[in-house]
Structures are given as C-alpha cells and as structure tokens.
C-alpha cells in the first residue's frame, strides 16, 4: 500500500518548525521515518500534514559538551554506532546502536525520534533512563529540558506538547569510575526487543556502587526504571550474589505482557538474566571488576 495524501512541510530552522507545529492542524513530525513511514504506508496513520525536519542542519550532531553527551534530533542510529566517542566512553550506547533494527533503518532512523515515539519496545528510552538523561524540547515559549523520568507517559505518549519539537537528548558525561551496558533479547536479527536492559554503574573510590541506573525495554507500558534494584545496589560492592539479587528485583519490578514475542513469565525471567549481564558488563567497564560474572 502507499501512503494517503498529505501536505509536506520542510522547515530549515527549529523556529520555523515550531511555528509550523503551532499553526498546522495536528501535524506529524518526520525525522528518520523509522516508525512513521511504515504507519503511513499501512495507513495506520493518515496525517493531513507532515513536518519534515530533515532539512534542519543544526540538529544533525553528536558531541560531548558542557558535561553532557548530546545527540541532535537528526543523529542517526548509525552515527552512534560509528562514533569513536561513544565507543570509548558510553558502553550502553555502543551496545544498543547495532541492535536497533537493521542497517538500512539504522542509516535513517534517529535516536531522538525513537525516544519521542515512546514505543515501550524501543531501546533508547531504557538507555536514557539508566543514564539519568533528559530530552531537550523547543516550543513556542522556547527551550525546556525534560528529565527522562518525567518524559514517558504511556505507550506512544510523552510529556512533549503538541507544538513542541524534541531537538536533542543528553546524558551526563561519565564519572571517572563509571561503566554502562545494554543487553537485548529478540526473536531474530532485526526484530524489536522481547526484553532489554540498560545498566549504568558509578563506583566510589572505595569500590562501592555510588549510583546505579537500570532501564528496561519492552516489559512495561513504557521504558521503565528498576528502582528497587537500583537502590539495592547502591552502597554495595559488586558480587555475583548482589547482581543476582538485583536481577530478581528488576524482574519483580517489570510488568511484561504475553504477546507474539513471548510469554510474560519468560520475559520476566529474561529481565533477571539481562539485568545481571548488563550490570556485570557495566562493572567490568568501570574497571572495578576483573572478569565478567557468568550468566
């Protein structure tokens, strides 16, 4: 099927885009088109107007500045996948990027677009949560920063206003003893997550966990934090037993549903396994644990 007819707008600045969002009737934003284009083609979406932001060159960046790693709204998954900065310092980003869909989609799809789409099966929301990151939005009243914890409301629903454009996301640059990782289980290559877990661990000088972030994919109505597991980790030294306990807590905190990807009971067990693995990788990358903790 082909998309139904729509009006196509191509702003070249953020301000222009925002004023289009303000003036048009129920506009839809097109960035990479990863989710929107299939919806158009299957006519699950029939927007009257589409605001295509691909011409806003100022949004095409990925950089570290002012204590943050910031990704502009046109940073593609492939940009993350190929970034030396990311590869060196942001384990969870480096893990997640090549696991998103397939190469063609990674070349077009954007990280910010994926977060704004707020599909609970999306990978980046979990990474953002684990890193205590934030979404930067522009609206008629200017710029505001929405912490990840306040961003996701429901499947495909966020706290972004109708006339706001998500222009970037950002996470704090890593502490000296910090590591992060993302683990994802899927039915087949290129598929959405059946379950995924992002973990970030910051250690104090004493080798204890000073800060823990755990974000979960596809096991709740939105990307969700495993807060009890995080709290259980903080102040402790990593050990296989501690990670097992954290895995169990995260599994308990998750609320998966049975669907074509798998049974809820299986997904819950997988949250446990993936949490342990992501935490183990994070600890290893932080340089406080020598060897990977098995399973």
């Amino acid at each position: 099927m082909k998309a139904a007819q729509f009006e196509h707008h191509e702003p070249s600045t953020v301000d222009e885009a925002v004023s289009l969002l303000e003036s048009l009737d129920e506009p839809t934003i097109l960035a990479g088109g990863q989710s929107l284009v299939p919806m158009l083609r299957f006519r699950l979406a029939r927007p009257e107007t589409v605001v295509d932001i691909n011409g806003i060159d100022s949004l095409d960046y990925l950089r570290e500045e002012n204590g943050f790693l910031t990704l502009g709204a046109l940073a593609r998954h492939a940009d993350v996948e190929n970034s030396a900065t990311v590869a060196d310092r942001y384990g969870s980003f480096a893990d997640a990027a090549p696991l998103v869909a397939d190469p063609q989609i990674r070349n077009r799809g954007t990280v910010v677009g994926s977060v704004a789409q707020a599909d609970p099966k999306g990978d980046w929301g979990s990474v953002l949560l684990a890193h205590d990151g934030a979404v930067v939005a522009h609206g008629p009243d200017g710029e505001r920063t929405i912490p990840a914890d306040d961003f996701f409301l429901l499947p495909y629903d966020t706290t972004l206003a109708e006339d706001e454009l998500a222009t970037a996301l950002r996470v704090p640059t890593p502490e000296p003893r910090e590591g992060s990782a993302y683990h994802k289980l899927k039915r087949k290559t290129g598929d959405y997550a059946m379950a995924g877990v992002a973990a970030r661990l910051v250690f104090d000088d004493d080798g204890r966990i000073a800060d823990a972030g755990i974000g979960m994919t596809a096991v709740d109505i939105t990307n969700a934090r495993a807060k009890e597991a995080e709290a259980h980790l903080e102040g402790e030294r990593p050990s296989p037993e501690l990670l097992e306990e954290a895995g169990e807590l995260a599994a308990e905190e998750s609320n998966p549903e049975s669907d074509e990807h798998g049974d809820a009971s299986y997904k819950e067990r997988m949250v446990d396994v993936l949490t342990q693995r992501a935490l183990a990788d994070a600890a290893e990358r932080a340089g406080v644990v020598e060897r990977r903790v098995p399973q």
Binding site: K188, V273, Q295
Partner: protein, 776 residues
C-alpha cells in the same frame, strides 16, 4: 575427463565413476561449475519477475477476504463497489467461476473480488462491499476435527478437482469427519514384535505450520481470447495446473494456457499448483470484464492463502533389541490440511509411510495417517512434502531410542541401515544406489575435523547431533508413467535452442540443461538457449519442475535429444567434409578432423531438430547425513547453530557449485524450520502474518561454519548418474539440529521451532502451557 571447478571446496572429492559419457566432453559440459545462465540479470536487477510484469489495458484485482474462519455467506452486495469510479467489475463469491459455494472455510477465504483500473481503486472499492455471514462453530485442531461430532468443514473427500483423488477405506472408527485423505499400511506383526522387544520407546512429535516466504509475492495476469483462458504466473507444474484449472473452472484442459513470466519466482513448492483463491478469481474477473486482470497477493495474504506446510502430529512407537536392532515401528500421523483440499494431503501421508522403509530395515511396521480439514489456513506443497515432517519425528525418535539402549546414535543408525541391493521391508524391491554409508563416513570425518579442539566456556552449552534423511527422485511412483520430452534445434550459426518442460525457479535448471546439451553436442553452454515449451507444443511432460525431477527426468530427455543431435550433426559434418564420422571431434563449437579445424556454422547448411524423451521407470532414493553443533545460551535458551555439515548423495553433480547452493539453501530452510518459524493462529486468525512478526532465518541464523560434502553414487537411471537433490537435502537438517539441542540441554524439544523461550523452559525442566512436551 576435464574438470574445472572454480570456487568449489577443495576438500570435495568426486569418487564415483564418470565414464558414462561416450562423447568427447566439452570443457564446460557436465561436472563443472559453469556460470548460471540467469546470473547477470538477477545480480543487475534487470530480471522481470511475475510481479514486475505489466500488460496493456490490464485491470487490477483486489479480493475481499474473510475475517472469520467459518460461516455461510447470506448476502453479498457489490452494488456500491461497482459504482465506484474506476471499478469495472465486482463479483460476489457465488458469481466467481468454478466450485465456489456460499461457505467460508478459513480466514482469508474469498467473499468477493473487484477489478478496477488501478490497484488502489480496487482496494478502496472493497470497503464498499456489504455482506452478511452466519457464523458456524469452527474447528482448528485436526485431531478433534476428524472425530465424530466435530463441525463439518467439508464432507469426506470432496471433489474439488484436486489431483491425486483416490478411493479410500478408513479402517479407524474414530476417524469420522473432515477426512481429506487416509492411508493405512502394515507388514509383519507389530504387536507381537513390540511385546517381545527388549525396549519399547513411545513418543509424540509435532511440527508447525510454516510458510515459504518467497520474496516475490504471488502475482498472475489472467486473460481470455474467445474461450481460451491464458494465465501468466509462476507455476512449476504447468501440465497438471492446466488440467486442474480447467476442471475447476469447468472448461477443457486445452482451453487453459499457462505461461510463466520472463523470470519465474522462487517456489520451494509454494508455486507448484494453482491456489483456490488466486488464479480462478483472476480468471473470473477477466471473463466478466473482457480485459486482462492482474491479481497480486499482499504479503499478509501469502500467509493466509499462499498455502503452508502441513502441521502434523506424530506418535511413534519403536521396538528394539538390547544390541540396537529395530524390530518394529508403529507410526500414526494426523496432518492439518486446513480449509481446502489440493491433493497434497495424500503426498504428506504416503511420504510419511514409505520413506522410513527407504532408510532402515524395519521387519514389522504399522502405519496410519489421516489428513484432516480444519478452519485453519490451507496447507499445500512445501519442499519435502511430508518427508520433512516425518523425518523430524523419525530421526528425533531414533536419537532417543539409541540413547535408551545406550548406543551412539550414529552407530545405532549404521546398524539398521538398508544396504545397497537389499530389498526394502515393504517388498518394494532393493535400493539401487545408496551413498548413505559414504555420507555418514565422510560427513562424520569432516564434522570431527572442524569441531575438533573446541573448548566451551561455562557460559554456553554445546551439543552435537546427527540425522539421516532420504527422499525419492521424481513423483515417487517409478512406474514409467512419468515422462518428459525435450526438443533441440541446432541452427546454422551453431547455436542450439532447447525446448523443455523445465521452469527455472532459481534452482538452476536452465543452466543444467545448457550444460547437458553442451556436453553432448560439443558446443559452449552459452551457445545453448533454454526455453520452456508452450502448451501447444506436441511435446509431452507430466509434472514440470516439481519433486526434484528437473535434472533427473527433464535432464534425461535433454540428454537423449543431445545424443541424437550429436550423431545427426556428426553425420552431416562427415558428409560435408567427406571423412568418416569416427574422425570428427566437436569441442566448444569447433569441428576437428585430422585435416582441418572449422566452426560448426561454416559447415551446417540446414538446421537440425530432434526430440528426446525420458521415462521414470525408477524413483531413485537420494540420501543425506547431516551433522549439527549448537551452542545454547543457558541464561536465555537462545540456540546458535555454530557448525553444520551436510553430506548429501546427489548421484552425480552436473554443476557442483549449484549443488552446493542447493545444499546451503536446504540448510537455511532447515534452520528456519528447526529454530525460527511458526505461523501461529488464535481461533484461526494468524497472529504473525507479516514479515515483521513471522521469523525467517537470515544469514545471522546460518551456521558460522558450513561444509557441504557432495557424495556421488552414480545412479544407473539418471543422466550421468544424477538424481534428485532439492527435496532430499532438506529433511535431515532440522532433526540434526534438534538432536544437537537435546545433546546440549538434556531435554528434547519435540515441537519445533526450538525458540529461545521453549528451550529455556525445557532446560528448566518445566512444562510450558502444556505446549512444550519436555522429556526428562
């Protein structure tokens, strides 16, 4: 003979005698890896497939398909659809030509159809059709559907002009309703043998409903000229398709002409025969409008109406002695035919019955199989019909039996294999050529070599498994009724046109035919043009490009024609050059004698046409021994097929590179069957009828290490010793992987696909939804 095999595995060794060819061979004749004739157009993207074809003044069809699995159509009102701009005709189901009654039998069944000037208009018009269905109680479980009192989908053995209709006598009194086909057979005394066996092992296996997922979706263009129906579509079995379509539409067989698009699409059985809701619908709309009508399946309809592999349930009981001799096998199978018959249930059941006896010595044997109508989507042909399912059950079971008697599964199999020249246990004569022992030995050697010195970490469970498989070449009857003819014409420029019954479905048959002609006549393969002969030709062929018969039987006809052409050509040349025919040697299009070297075109003044013929007096069985190594993630249950060796007896490899390709393709299909694919349904509504949700194997799922061992047993009846490959290479793949998983985790997944979830719960030793039987 000269042999060049660029790019082939150097470990390959051809052991069979190849001295069958009497003619001096062309350098690029049989036995060499010549380039595919269609490779350039396929790589460049210039090949025109069925869905690329457009014809002038063609209308586009859209079909309104049922969303409920079982009901009676009370009213269908197409008035508003007919009134839409651009719509030329709208037909309700009862207005379609053929045996369309008022009953809806599966999700995706036809309610009405529209022909319009463009596809979008046709689809939009569907929304204007109003209809009223009285819903009936559906039945989805074949074992339930066959019992008394089950909702009736069809009367037993309805006549919808499907092929292979035959009288049946159902001796099982529990089988009452919805019977598509039934086979029972026995020899020896199974009860007695099981009573006296040292071990009796009984187990159930199920195999899933899976789809071919051919890349090019179904697309046909139907048109009428007076009373003559023409359908352009990819169909492998054209002769039979013409007959079936004619019977179904109630017109003469001769009034149906089927042609294939310039480049036929892949099939894997999915394009052997017409589909109930496809060609007849396009034909009806074309008749109604007087214009050509193009009908293309959207991807989801491929799953609903493209016909799947039959879902099957097996119960196997085997008796063995302490020292590992099979004394009895009792098998029962129930196959789910879905909503419509197509003659394929018969093939599922007869392959399930016969194939074990082509492999093993089974002195006491009892078999019962029934294929059953349900309100599921229809099942049909899929590479290795029935034998893929049956081999999964049998080879899984044999693995268990060997473990029970404490024998190595490979040794157990060797102990019970039929030997060459030994009569089958059903009295069907001996196995003529069987490379199975060599498959086992060479496959095992290669497998050990490449899996040697593997260390496994505590993070992974490694398992290894083996399975055998066999399938006959051709229709399986071997009674001389299956024939094929080919016509060769050599033009005065030295080129040859071969008209054959082959359909190049990606399997490489055109290339093989050109190699045979080149080899026999002494011309380069590029000088041979291979065409499908038209229905109007006075050439005979029974089944077309199905059942692994292309190389064996069509190739046999081409070879017969090739030898005739060669001798006529040599006669003409010797007359022209005034020398003895014995002094003429033709190689690579050039004529050599003691005195001169000239090209064929310089000597030939009139073209030569000959017709060759081959008859299948045999149905030689072809064997494979496949070896798999899997790595299972103990935390998630994810299965990675790390290493695979496919040792396959092909009789003779006319093109070793393409044989390798066929084997690799079989491994891909087998991996998919073993660990990926299942078309699931909730109350008859497929839950994953899209490529986003239905898992197919990608290169990532392919083994990291894959070796194809080509075994050549020199089949007496096949051209140059060749026998079938496409079908026989698939069945052993999935059970080899299943046995490796069993080895890795200690439990058996008896219901593929072995998804991570199923393996995880099997490892935990826990039943899951009672759908995953787990053995301790």
């Amino acid at each position: 003979m000269t042999r060049e095999a660029p790019g082939t595995d150097s470990s390959r060794s051809i052991q069979a005698s190849r001295e069958t060819a009497e003619q001096p061979p062309s350098k690029r004749g049989v036995g060499t890896a010549t380039k595919r004739t269609d490779i350039a157009s396929k790589v460049r993207g210039t090949a025109i497939y069925g869905s690329d074809v457009s014809r002038p003044s063609t209308l586009h069809a859209a079909v309104l398909r049922a969303e409920t699995p079982h009901g009676t159509l009370r009213t269908v009102d197409t008035t508003a659809a007919t009134d839409c701009d651009g719509v030329v005709a709208a037909c309700s189901r009862s207005e379609l030509r053929g045996f369309f009654d008022d009953r809806i039998r599966h999700v995706g069944d036809v309610i009405a159809a529209v022909a319009a000037t463009d596809r979008e208009t046709a689809y939009r018009a569907l929304e204007e059709i109003e209809y009223d269905v009285i819903e009936h109680e559906p039945v989805f479980d074949a074992a339930t559907a066959v019992q008394a009192g089950a909702p009736i989908v069809h009367e037993n053995q309805p006549d919808l002009k499907q092929h292979r209709q035959h009288p049946i006598e159902v001796t099982n009194e529990e089988y009452v309703n919805n019977i598509d086909d039934y086979h029972a057979y026995q020899h020896g005394d199974v009860d007695e043998a099981l009573n006296t066996a040292d071990h009796v092992i009984e187990r159930s296996y199920t195999t899933p409903r899976v789809s071919h997922c051919n890349l090019d979706t179904h697309c046909c263009i139907a048109s009428w000229t007076d009373d003559q129906l023409h359908v352009e579509t990819t169909l492998g079995n054209i002769t039979q398709a013409q007959e079936e379509l004619g019977d179904f539409l109630e017109i003469d067989h001769d009034s149906v002409e089927i042609t294939v698009p310039p480049t036929p699409s892949s099939s894997f059985g999915g394009r052997s025969l017409p589909k109930f809701t496809f060609e007849p619908v396009a034909a009806s709309l074309s008749e109604r409008t007087g214009r050509p009508v193009r009908l293309e399946f959207p991807r989801d309809v491929e799953f609903l109406a493209g016909e799947t592999r039959h879902k099957t349930e097996w119960e196997l009981t085997m008796g063995v002695t302490d020292d590992g001799e099979i004394t009895a096998l009792q098998t029962s199978v129930i196959a789910d035919t879905g909503g419509y018959p197509n003659g394929v249930g018969h093939i599922v059941l007869s392959n399930g019955r016969d194939r074990p006896l082509d492999m093993y010595r089974i002195p006491n044997y009892e078999y019962e199989g029934v294929s059953v109508f349900t309100n599921n989507v229809p099942a049909g042909e899929y590479r290795g019909i029935g034998v893929t399912q049956g081999t999964f059950a049998l080879e899984s079971h044999i693995d268990e039996v060997a473990r029970t008697v404490g024998m190595d599964p490979l040794t157990f199999r060797s102990r019970n294999l039929l030997e060459e020249g030994e009569d089958r246990s059903n009295g069907r004569g001996p196995i003529d050529t069987s490379g199975v022992t060599e498959c086992l030995e060479r496959g095992q050697r290669t497998f050990e070599r490449i899996t040697d010195d593997r260390s496994s970490s505590s993070n992974e469970l490694v398992g290894r498994g083996v399975a055998l498989g066999t399938h006959t070449t051709g229709s399986g009857a071997g009674d001389g009724r299956d024939v094929s003819e080919a016509e060769l014409t050599m033009r005065t420029d030295g080129t040859v046109t071969a008209k054959t019954a082959g359909v190049e479905l990606g399997q490489g048959s055109d290339t093989v035919m050109s190699q045979i002609v080149a080899h026999e006549v002494g011309v380069p393969p590029e000088a041979v043009r291979v065409e499908r002969f038209p229905a109007s030709a006075a050439l005979d062929d029974s089944l077309g490009a199905v059942a692994s018969r292309s190389t064996y039987l069509i190739g046999g006809a081409v070879r017969d024609a090739g030898t005739q052409l060669s001798s006529t050509l040599v006669d003409r040349i010797s007359t022209a050059l005034d020398c003895s025919p014995a002094d003429v040697r033709i190689d690579d299009g050039t004529v050599h004698t003691d005195r001169s070297t000239v090209s064929i075109s310089d000597l030939l003044e009139e073209e030569i046409t000959v017709v060759g013929r081959a008859t299948a007096d045999d149905a030689p069985a072809s064997y494979g021994a496949h070896f798999a190594e899997v790595v299972v993630d103990p935390g998630t249950g994810h299965v990675d097929v790390r290493t695979f060796v496919a040792a396959q007896d092909v009789g003779f490899a006319i093109n070793p590179k393409m044989v390798e390709g066929q084997l690799e393709g079989a491994v891909l299909h087998g991996v998919e069957f073993a660990i990926c694919s299942e078309l699931r349904a909730d109350n008859g509504i497929p839950e994953n009828s899209s490529l986003a949700d239905y898992s197919v194997a990608s290169p990532v799922e392919m083994p990291n290490q894959l070796e194809c061992e080509i075994i050549e047993s020199a089949e007496r009846s096949g051209p140059y010793g060749a026998k079938g490959l496409g079908t026989p290479s698939l069945p052993p793949v999935a059970p080899a992987i299943g046995n490796a998983i069993r080895d890795a985790i200690g439990n058996r997944i008896t219901n593929p696909p072995a998804t991570a979830e199923r393996v995880f719960f099997a490892m935990a030793g826990r039943d899951f939804d009672e759908e995953v039987p787990v053995d301790e």
